[in-house]
Symmetry: D2
Subunit: 131 residues, 4 copies
């Protein structure tokens, strides 16, 4: 639906709208996945081992909300902020995925969360190459 709404914006596109919509959607999914994964990790019996994962999931969720919103705006597109947010997003998703992958065999929510983070990292990287 994000792509359809972006297509109706009164201003001409400054970035490929398909890549843009994919990134906004990936950020939204990543916020949800990381929020659930952090909460599930807090409830695990090995919560002490999950500290780093919890922290990185919380960061990743916050960065994804801000990045998704900043990218969703087309009025007076501001290249440098978009670029800086995409760089932060690629980093936050990548490092969170890396940590969740370490716990993927033990915790299914970490395996799934890592997948969503990797998709968001990829969508943000692709957009970063174009902006």
């Amino acid at each position: 639906m994000v792509f359809e709404i972006l297509e109706t914006h009164p201003l001409p596109a400054h970035i490929d709208r398909q890549l843009l919509a994919a990134c906004v959607d990936a950020c939204a999914d990543c916020n949800s996945a990381c929020t659930v994964c952090a909460d599930a990790s807090v409830a695990e019996s090995d919560v002490v081992e999950m500290r780093r994962s919890i922290r990185l999931c919380l960061d990743c969720a916050d960065v994804c909300v801000a990045t998704g919103r900043a990218l969703a705006r087309q009025t007076d597109y501001e290249h440098e902020t978009a670029k800086a947010m995409l760089e932060a997003c690629v980093r936050a998703c990548g490092i969170c995925a890396q940590e969740c992958e370490r716990h993927a065999e033990m915790h299914e929510h970490c395996r799934l969360c890592a997948q969503v983070c990797r998709r968001c990292e990829a969508a943000s990287s692709r957009l970063l190459d174009k902006v």
Copy 2:
């Protein structure tokens, strides 16, 4: 994906997880749609007529982020906060949809945004009946 991750949570479900996942997803979509719609309205030539829509879209986006996250957490589920957030979400989505519907013929982004808001209002209402 939210449903799959929620299913792997170590704690037993206190609410129907399919309804819960539908609501978390609807909140994520509604945040994205309202963020794009507010920005598109700011860029429209009749921006003066769009003031109420802009304001309600910004509120709705913020309420949806908070509601989606609070619901995504299952550890020590807190019934009263969940209920209060769902009530705020139903209200914010409903009033935003109503205003965007008024502009639906003029602005396609308002028509699409109103649809997404109505879906989130419905998903939140369904969950509110169960909590």
Copy 3:
């Protein structure tokens, strides 16, 4: 500073701006305090005892960001959403304070966080009486 900026809004005030600014500021402080307290609790050696506190702090932080923003907006003030968000905020702050108070002797960050939550609960309650 919030009070000074609110005073320069082109539209007439629909609520007492001093109470409003106090609530917006309290929400901002509460988001910061709960974010630090949740993170500190994750790092504590008795993290298993802190699960409920972590979850309630994360909820409270999210609700406070959304409430503070919705209240900060004066254009086309929407009474019902404001009321619903204030009710959610009073609830989220109150329940989080209650849990953090239980850990106040053990963890200084819980004692301080509970104070900030109680202040935000009070500021939101006072505003709720007027809207």
Copy 4:
């Protein structure tokens, strides 16, 4: 209060906590100021001239919420994400301040918002020099 709570964190500080608390507080203030300023600009009679300001204020508010939260967390401090978020914050605050300064004589909320943005830009820059 943020400084006092940060001081009670069980883990040793990895950054100067006074600079850190100043930055977390500045991000919180900047989110509030930009949210009010964007809303006030939407209500101004010259809203057409305020489009760029509205957009940059909304971006700045979102970036400040995410940056303030990521920095508030001390558990498993993640240098690269912190650095990337601070860079995005410095940029978003600086460009928003620049635009609001252009409207400072016409709109008092822009003059005040620009001041808050410049303070947040400075607090984030100072921290960026240390991380």
